[in-house]
């Protein structure tokens, strides 16, 4: 069967090819670029060939394994509509970004490294979504983090890039630790990593429901960090230091979508026991999603960074996806689950488009600060037109893709969520429209700024516009593919296209977009004092927004600084208490011993002097003893002489003893050797 081969090749091929990039680069830049385009094109077409295989799976997934670490721990691929959907997304975007990079990164150095990591990134992400077990998924999960680190800090002589890369890696690592715990607990209770085994165990009810709840929350922890949800969303804004092409890839297909995939996959796996998760886990997912969507959108209102708007927009849209997942109750039959995946795709198209356009603008203007832009519509008309499509899709206006997907999400939240969630999500939709309009207003409308007049910007080259154009078309038609996708994903009840157009949501949409439009009109076209004061930097609300609700300040100034301070404290402890203190102690002992020694020596000296003096004194006094002493000395001398002559004799006999002992020893050794039996 074709799928047997392609499902392995689709991730192994880009991974292996990445290693050849440095080798082929020796043949020249052109060869390298052609190679990369070729690899991504092949990967994309391999991904597409999987589509029929997944739909012919008849509800069950195709699961292929190969021996890996041991007999029980295998490597494998898992082909079902969910994994194939993501595989196609990644394959498609890999190709788009590779083509775009040809233009965008044209004048950069070290492109061999760039393309190496690009292929590795694509391969790892496909590997992540196509894995059939948690171990393999986790490995690729980490590798995606490693690749994004390398690509975000691609311009590695800029300190900001390096710092951003480190931040991304560390923050997502916190989530990875959580996911590791989840995988560990599952493995400990089921003794398998494979999805298939886990599903079987859950079906048979061998997994205690308390364990499943713990695992679910830990999985959520992993997804929160990877998909930039509250409270770990701040890395996504910092990741804007990456080349824009990488940002597009990161937002549209790889990295942040991994969290959505994980939750979607986990809901599928836990489907038979989803009732256990209904109580606390699913509402938590929904709330995190809704809050992230809302806060992300508000932050997008304020940032002056052109990529910052898009970054916060992604945070917000990912919130939509999570919220939808949180409101999916009956797993794959559910609307929310499907809505989330549907929106994942539409978000990929419009956000990817946004980044590709932003890349062209940054290319032309050399700045990311929107305050320096304005009036760009004349210089870059094609970009302007595409940007209009982008913001219309982002805001969810018909007939663009996000209208359908957001409509489904809102329907799902209305059905399952609480009233506050519904209100917040509608508010978010309004704010989305507001920041989208602001985006266009600041960049394209109005008078040409001074910065622009100096530069004479030009339209982006064709090689950068072509991928953007493809995405714009996708934005336009994706929404109409909803029924087809619904049947492909095996979702039974998807509202028909017509009802989406005339339903309640459309009406509410229209109503809420009016205040949003008014808001933006008031804020940017008219010079109302209340709006100006809101926008002035001293306003507390403005401060809150410009600092991103102080999340980052907390992480950088409290957590990171705290850890570093504590490390220095530990080092100080080591140096003082473990290095210096014992040394000082030892020195003290030595000095003390020296002092005692000196003291005793002096005392002994004195004592001797005193005794000697006394003796001399008394000897002088007692003159009568003089002669006696003379005679005594005589006797001693005679005795000494005699004993000396005797000692001579005994020393000669000592030699005899020594010789005898040596002989005896030799005999002993000989005996020993004989007994040993050499």
């Amino acid at each position: 069967m074709l799928a047997d081969v392609t499902s392995w090749l689709v991730w192994i091929f880009p991974l292996v090819s990445s290693v050849f990039v440095p080798l082929i680069a020796r043949a020249g830049e052109k060869a390298r670029n052609a190679f990369v385009i070729g690899v991504t094109a092949v990967t994309a077409s391999l991904a597409l060939t999987l589509i029929p295989a997944a739909s012919s799976g008849e509800g069950g997934a195709i699961n292929l394994v190969a021996p890996w670490i041991s007999q029980a721990i295998t490597a494998g691929v898992y082909i079902d509509p969910l994994s194939v959907l993501f595989t196609c997304l990644v394959g498609f975007f890999g190709l788009i970004i590779a083509i775009y990079s040809l233009g965008y990164m044209k004048h950069e150095e070290n492109l061999t490294r760039y393309y190496f990591y690009l292929l590795l990134f694509i391969g790892s992400m496909i590997g992540l979504v196509i894995s059939d077990n948690f171990l393999q998924l986790f490995i690729f999960w980490e590798m995606v983090g490693l690749c994004s680190y390398s690509l975000i800090s691609f311009w590695n002589n800029r300190p900001e890039s390096v710092k951003a890369g480190n931040k991304v890696f560390i923050m997502t690592r916190i989530g990875d630790a959580s996911l590791l715990a989840a995988v560990g607990i599952l493995y400990a209770s089921l003794n398998t990593f494979s999805f298939h085994g886990t599903i079987t165990a859950i079906l048979n009810g061998t997994l205690p429901s308390s364990t499943l709840t713990v695992v679910a929350f830990l999985v959520l922890g992993g997804a929160i960090a990877k998909s930039a949800q509250l409270p770990l969303h701040t890395w996504l804004y910092s990741a804007m230091e990456a080349p824009t092409s990488i940002s597009a890839l990161l937002h549209a297909a790889t990295m942040v979508k991994a969290g959505v995939y994980l939750i979607a996959r986990f809901i599928l796996i836990a489907a038979p026991m989803i009732a256990v998760l209904e109580g606390s886990w699913l509402p938590t997912v929904a709330w995190i999603g809704v809050l992230t969507a809302f806060l992300g959108a508000t932050m997008a209102l304020y940032t002056p960074d052109i990529k910052g708007v898009l970054a916060y927009s992604t945070v917000s849209q990912l919130g939509f996806m999570m919220a939808a997942l949180g409101t999916s109750l009956a797993a794959s039959e559910s609307l929310g689950w499907f809505a989330s995946l549907f929106h994942t795709m539409s978000h990929a198209f419009f956000e990817g488009l946004g980044f590709l356009l932003a890349g062209g603008i940054i290319h032309a203007l050399g700045t990311r600060d929107m305050r320096l832009m304005g009036g760009l519509r004349k210089a870059m008309p094609v970009t302007y037109a595409l940007a209009i499509i982008m913001i219309l899709t982002t805001s969810g206006l018909p007939p663009f893709a996000a209208f359908f997907s957001k409509g489904l999400i809102i329907t799902s939240i209305t059905e399952e969520g609480s009233l506050l969630q519904v209100i917040l999500i509608y508010a978010t939709t309004a704010i989305t429209f507001a920041y989208s309009l602001r985006f266009v207003k600041l960049i394209f409308l109005g008078k040409e700024s001074e910065h622009l007049q100096k530069l004479h910007p030009h339209e982006a080259p064709k090689i950068m516009l072509a991928p953007a154009f493809v995405l714009a078309v996708a934005c336009l038609i994706w929404g109409f593919l909803e029924p087809w996708l619904g049947s492909y994903m095996g979702v039974a009840e998807v509202p028909s296209l017509l009802s989406s157009f005339v339903g309640l949501e459309t009406a509410i949409f229209a109503v809420i977009l009016i205040p949003a439009g008014l808001l933006i009109y008031a804020a940017y076209w008219k010079n109302y004092s209340i709006m100006n004061s809101l926008r002035s930097a001293s306003n507390p609300l403005a401060k809150l927004l410009s600092h991103g609700y102080f999340f980052d300040d907390f992480y950088e100034k409290v957590v990171a600084k705290g850890v570093m301070l504590f490390s220095r404290g530990v080092k100080f402890f080591e140096v003082v208490f473990l290095e210096i203190f014992p040394m000082v102690f030892a020195n003290m002992v030595i000095r003390f011993a020296g002092g005692v020694h000196k003291y005793f020596e002096a005392a002994a000296d004195q004592l001797l002097t005193v005794i000697a003096g006394r003796t001399v004194d008394s000897a002088a006094k007692v003159k009568t003893l003089d002669s006696l002493a003379d005679r005594f000395l005589d006797i001693i001398a005679r005795h000494t002489l005699r004993s000396a002559s005797r000692a001579e004799g005994s020393s000669s006999s000592l030699q005899h003893y020594l010789a005898a002992a040596l002989l005896g020893f030799i005999v002993l050794v000989i005996l020993l050797i004989i007994s040993v039996g050499v």
């Binding site: 390096v162 890369g165 690592r173 630790a177 570093m564 080591e574 039996g677």
Partner: protein, 501 residues
Amino acid sequence: MSYILLSVLLLPTIAVPLVYLVGRKSAKWAAILLALISLVSLGLILTTVHAILGPDHRYMETYTWIPVLNSQFALFVDGISISMAIITMVLMLAAALYSINYMQGKKNLEIFYALLTLLLVGLVGVFITSNLLFFYFCWELMLVPAFFIVGNWGYRDSYKASFKFFVFTHAGAVFVLLGIGAIYMTTHSIDLFQAERLLLTQSPDIVRWILLALTAGFAVKMAIFPVHLWLPDAYSESPAPMSALLGGVLTSAGAYAIIRISMETVFPVVMGTQFGTDFLHGLAIFGVISAFFGSFIALAETDLKRIISYSSISHMGYILFGVSLFYTSAGALIQVAVAGTVLHIVTHGLSKGLFFLSAGSLMNSLSLRNIRDMGGIAGKMPITGTASATAAFSIGGAPPFACFISEFFIFMGAFQMIPLDGFYIWPTALMLVATVLSLGYSLRFMSNVFLGPSKLGEIKKKSLEVPRFMLLAMIILTVFVIIIGIYPSLFMNLINTVTFL
């Protein structure tokens, strides 16, 4: 009967004077000879693999030795020993090749290489003998050449560092000797496997002291907090190839000895008692403390080699934590923990060796030690940069590099333990936090040394890359680290044959 293991042992022994003599003519050829010896030993020991994968799971050679002491001179390899022996030889090969360029111009190199060969004898002896007396002999034999190499060819205040190293590890060795003596006194056997059987008949009240003495002695070699004090000085002051061997295999020998003697031979006696459980909990606590202590100081340290040294302490903490997961309180073996821990000794050894070699290359090219003075040299030293990144991310626990997979399996063991023994919840949670810290100091190392703006001033030279033998050594280890990371079965199949029972 074959003489494979005997020749593995005798080959370097005989080669010691040979290397010395060759070294007097040309230091380079002495190094190549040493590399060849390691390579041949590696080849020899690999021939026993099929026996280990066979039904016996063990390959043994027995010779008669001192019959008065009722002692047989037994050499053996099983899954654990052979893994240790393999990394010893690979690292010795890399160190010898690396030294060709790195030690160029130093004095008395013939003695340097002869001492390295002697060190190889000691290391191989420790890993392949089951005779405790000979084990102790080799244990001390590792120490003596290491002392002279660190002292004589080291940096800065090297004799002080080397003296500290000697005093600490020798004090540890006294405990080891006490333990071995006590084993002989109670069982009248100095063979590991006989003693294992005979000790089981002894009272746990006596054996617990043997266990404590031996573990304390080995822990010094492993540099567990608070007896780690010798390590940072010894590692950072010694020449790079010696640092690689110290970090890669000498501390690993301590870990090996804890697994082989403390856990496999002595521990079963106290298994199931309250003391046994407490002992394992104690190991876990010391492991966690070491892991945290090492990571934190590595985060604060600015000296290139001291960062790596402290990361060694941290990783020895991981290993000790893994060792504490071997047996449940009921006495069952957790196979995943054993596999993970032993694999971690292997992967950490190779990664740490690579890390020290790349640090040596940096010092060789830049003549700098403080990471704050470096920066932005990734483009000037692409191969050293790749090697460092491989080592740093392996140590930081990122796939597809080797340490990730072993750490992962240690954690799998921990999660199997938690439902059986609630004590392990907090140590495991803390170790998970420690993985974040490990990544933190690895990233700090990479971004300070290789990335960011250069603080070196104008560099005129186009490339700062080191000479080719140093590159070759680093490439060998890099390839190993990546291959094991992708396909751990290379060692996993060997290690999984170990059942301890």
